[in-house]
Symmetry: C2
Subunit: 351 residues, 2 copies
């Protein structure tokens, strides 16, 4: 049976959920997937860093009080020296789930680069490094014979990137339309019920859906990053965020929404990628009033969805969760499964 | 570059569409997928059989008048000797798309068995052999070191089997609900508009959606076969059609449908698979009045969809076409891609 040693960079909700999955069902997963998992390093802003090449007791670290520190534990230190841990740990897979700035993709881009340079594969849930530096990081992974995987960068664990790239292989995807932000979709649903934008945002914040600063959700810059990722990953484009026109839902009035409802239509914040007749790929983020027969018209609340327009199948739509700690932890697990499969293929070819 | 020789068993709409795809974009697909395709044998009830180990001129056979025969062509014969062609042709992949009886799965089961016994992989679009003999045929494929693939047996080319089995690997699927028959879904939509069942069926027949005998669509036995396939393939069950309770849409009255619409609900013919708390898997086919927030409520007309209930992701739904010659031909192509990938993995491991 194969085996992988993991280093968890960041020990917040998502990586803690992954640690719980490994603790609680690692053995069952091993039987199903043909490999075992062990965590040999963890870094975190609060706890510091911990390197134990023989495997960290996950139950112990998961039950530490939030005021605790890794300092004093064998292999522990008060400071989360991410770069050192990524380069020096015995892990073969780095699990990157830090809080990262979506504008410059840091510190995640540096983490990914350090991992790939030191011959370790990476799975990340951060959109930033994928939207900003995907091509360069994929090249670096190839040069080092390892993998850079990022299923969770779009729609958390709902496997839309792998679906578009692998499950639909042999099809030509000519267009993509997606509802890719749960907060704005929730807010639009509330506005259909008569609430103002401001009241709906406040309610989403109370429920924990929306950030304290909801600008990235409401004004579409979160979706803009995802459109860049989809265009480059699935339609072979080379777009940057500046290439993607963006209009958020704050441009909609309550009257717009009432009028659309009267016509049987529903406003949605749609991220779209289109290939024109000359093969040029463009992207856009904008509110669109969708007819009820549009495959995205029924996508409500926190659910996200992508409709792929293909040559042979017409439109195929995948909907599922777009956020959540378990859902995003599954994205990491699905990347680890892909890294394992790729290593087996390499080993097979090299034998 | 890898290469595959195909034998097409049946030369009706679906296999003709596959032949057109190979003729028109075989080269482009080769660059994308890393293998080339050639058709070296065709059998058909009308045309007879044709075996040309150096490759059949697809443009020529696609343009034959429907009254023509393969007799007189090099390697041609008036009689479609399927078993002989399957066993003797130089093809490494048999593409099975005959008209097959869903009750006993013949002649497709015999075709698949002959192919696997003679060391050839198989792709089929027929539900019968998969619902009736899947486990035995998969064992026979394993024993002969080849593959039995059948993505098109559920939802034509929309890759729901591969999605559930591979794209969602590592998840535990606890339940499946699907709208798996376009004819009954079209008829229900018309009944919502006030039409009687009989009138809606007649309209579907005029439009070519429904068969001359629509019983299998309307009474749910088509969906029943698909439920068996989904239960056995994705939830590890060992069900037969007799295990799956079945009730069709003829049990619904116009009043039922009007009343549901008044409550904001929509009747759909739902095929479902459920794993209970003891791990037992059961299946059913029945009309259900779905609330508007159910992921299948918005699936209209000829579109099909499956909602997977999983442990870590909750509900993930895939919708797309459930029929059509191009769509079903893509199912065959996706199986050929899978067979090629499996052969590469075997070669890699054996080197």
């Amino acid at each position: 049976m194969n085996h992988h040693d993991l280093a968890l960079i960041g020990f917040g909700g998502v990586n803690r959920a992954l640690a719980e999955i490994i603790r609680d069902r690692g053995e069952a997963l091993g039987h199903e997937l043909g490999f075992t998992l062990r965590v040999v390093a963890i870094t975190d802003l609060r706890f510091g860093s911990l390197m134990q090449p023989d495997g960290i007791d996950l139950d112990h670290v998961l039950n530490l009080p939030s005021s605790a520190s890794f300092e004093g534990m064998p292999g522990g230190a008060a400071i989360p020296n991410n770069d050192h841990v990524i380069r020096q740990s015995s892990a073969d897979i780095i699990v990157e789930a830090t809080f990262t700035n979506p504008v410059d993709g840091e510190p995640a881009i540096s983490h990914v680069r350090a991992a790939l340079e030191s011959g370790k594969s990476v799975t990340t849930t951060n959109k930033g490094p994928v939207a900003i530096a995907r091509a360069a990081l994929n090249r670096l992974a190839d040069e080092n014979g390892v993998r850079f995987e990022y299923e969770g960068s779009v729609m958390s664990g709902t496997p839309v990137l792998r679906f578009g790239r692998e499950t639909m292989s042999g099809l030509w995807i000519n267009a993509i339309q997606g509802i890719l932000n749960g907060t704005s979709n929730y807010v639009l649903g509330k506005m259909e019920g008569g609430m103002t934008l401001q009241a709906a945002v406040a309610e989403a914040q109370e429920l924990g859906y929306a950030e304290a600063d909801p600008t990235a959700d409401i004004e579409g810059s979160d979706v803009q990053l995802k459109v860049v990722i989809l265009a480059n990953e699935l339609l072979g484009a080379d777009l940057t965020t500046a290439d993607v026109e963006r209009r958020g839902i704050s441009s909609l009035s309550a009257a717009d929404i009432v009028q659309a409802a009267a016509e049987g239509k529903r406003w949605k914040l749609v991220g779209s990628v289109t290939r024109d007749e000359f093969g040029r790929v463009s992207g856009a983020v904008e509110p669109i009033a969708l007819s009820p027969d549009h495959p995205l018209a029924g996508i409500s609340g926190a659910t996200n969805a992508i409709a792929f327009t293909t040559d042979l199948l017409g439109t195929v739509t995948v909907s599922g969760p777009g956020a959540g700690r378990w859902e995003t932890a599954y994205a990491l697990l699905s990347d680890i499964i892909a890294i394992d499969a790729h290593q087996r293929a390499l080993v097979g070819a090299a034998l």
